[in-house]
């Protein structure tokens, strides 16, 4: 499965995929300290979006998106739908 080259495109696609069907989407984060990299995957088992990085500034962005998706999952379905871009 291909990896996204730019964070912005990945983040936008990931949020969009989640909002399309929240119950179908799962988010996976894989940390490898020994290799110094992180991979984020967002998938509904039909579409698979991935982003990999070893850059510290990207890690912050990944954490932020991860937290955002977690908050969306934990809030009631009737959210405003407003999407902030990083």
């Amino acid at each position: 499965m291909p990896y996204y080259q730019t964070w912005e495109e990945f983040a936008r696609a990931a949020e969009k995929l989640y909002l399309t069907d929240p119950m179908k989407v799962r988010v996976a984060l894989k940390y490898r300290h020994c290799d110094g990299n992180i991979c984020m995957k967002v998938t509904d088992d039909a579409v698979c979006l991935q982003y990999k990085t070893d850059q510290a500034q990207d890690v912050k962005k990944i954490e932020k998106l991860h937290g955002k998706l977690m908050r969306l999952m934990v809030s009631k379905e009737s959210h405003s739908g407003a999407m902030e871009t990083d």
């Binding site: 894989k30 300290h33 954490e63 977690m70 999952m73 934990v74």
Partner: protein, 95 residues
């Protein structure tokens, strides 16, 4: 379907930190997140699905190093905050 996913509590954060510490020199930590509807049993192919208390505001948070698996159900925004804070601490160690 989770059968015994425990509701989020502080001990989960301790276990999560321990998982990251174990994987410092080798291996990966995988965190999986998905929205949870409150089901406790899988939908059977035949017959009727079990009744369950439906939920709209929960998510499953799982972490694994390939051998040890831990999981919790998150349903409060403040739990999300604490989870994110802990992740940040753990990952700073990582990358």
């Amino acid at each position: 379907c989770p059968s015994l996913e425990s509701e989020y509590d502080c001990s989960f954060l301790t276990e999560l930190t321990r998982l990251f510490q174990k994987c410092r020199t080798t291996g990966s930590v995988v965190i999986t997140l998905k929205k949870y509807d409150g089901r406790t049993k899988p939908v059977p192919r035949k017959g009727h699905p079990e009744t369950y208390e439906p939920a709209d505001n929960k998510c499953l948070f799982r972490a694994s190093d390939g051998k040890t698996k831990i999981s919790t159900v998150v349903r409060k925004q403040h739990s999300v905050t604490r989870m994110c804070e802990r992740e940040r601490v753990c990952v700073c160690v990582c990358v």
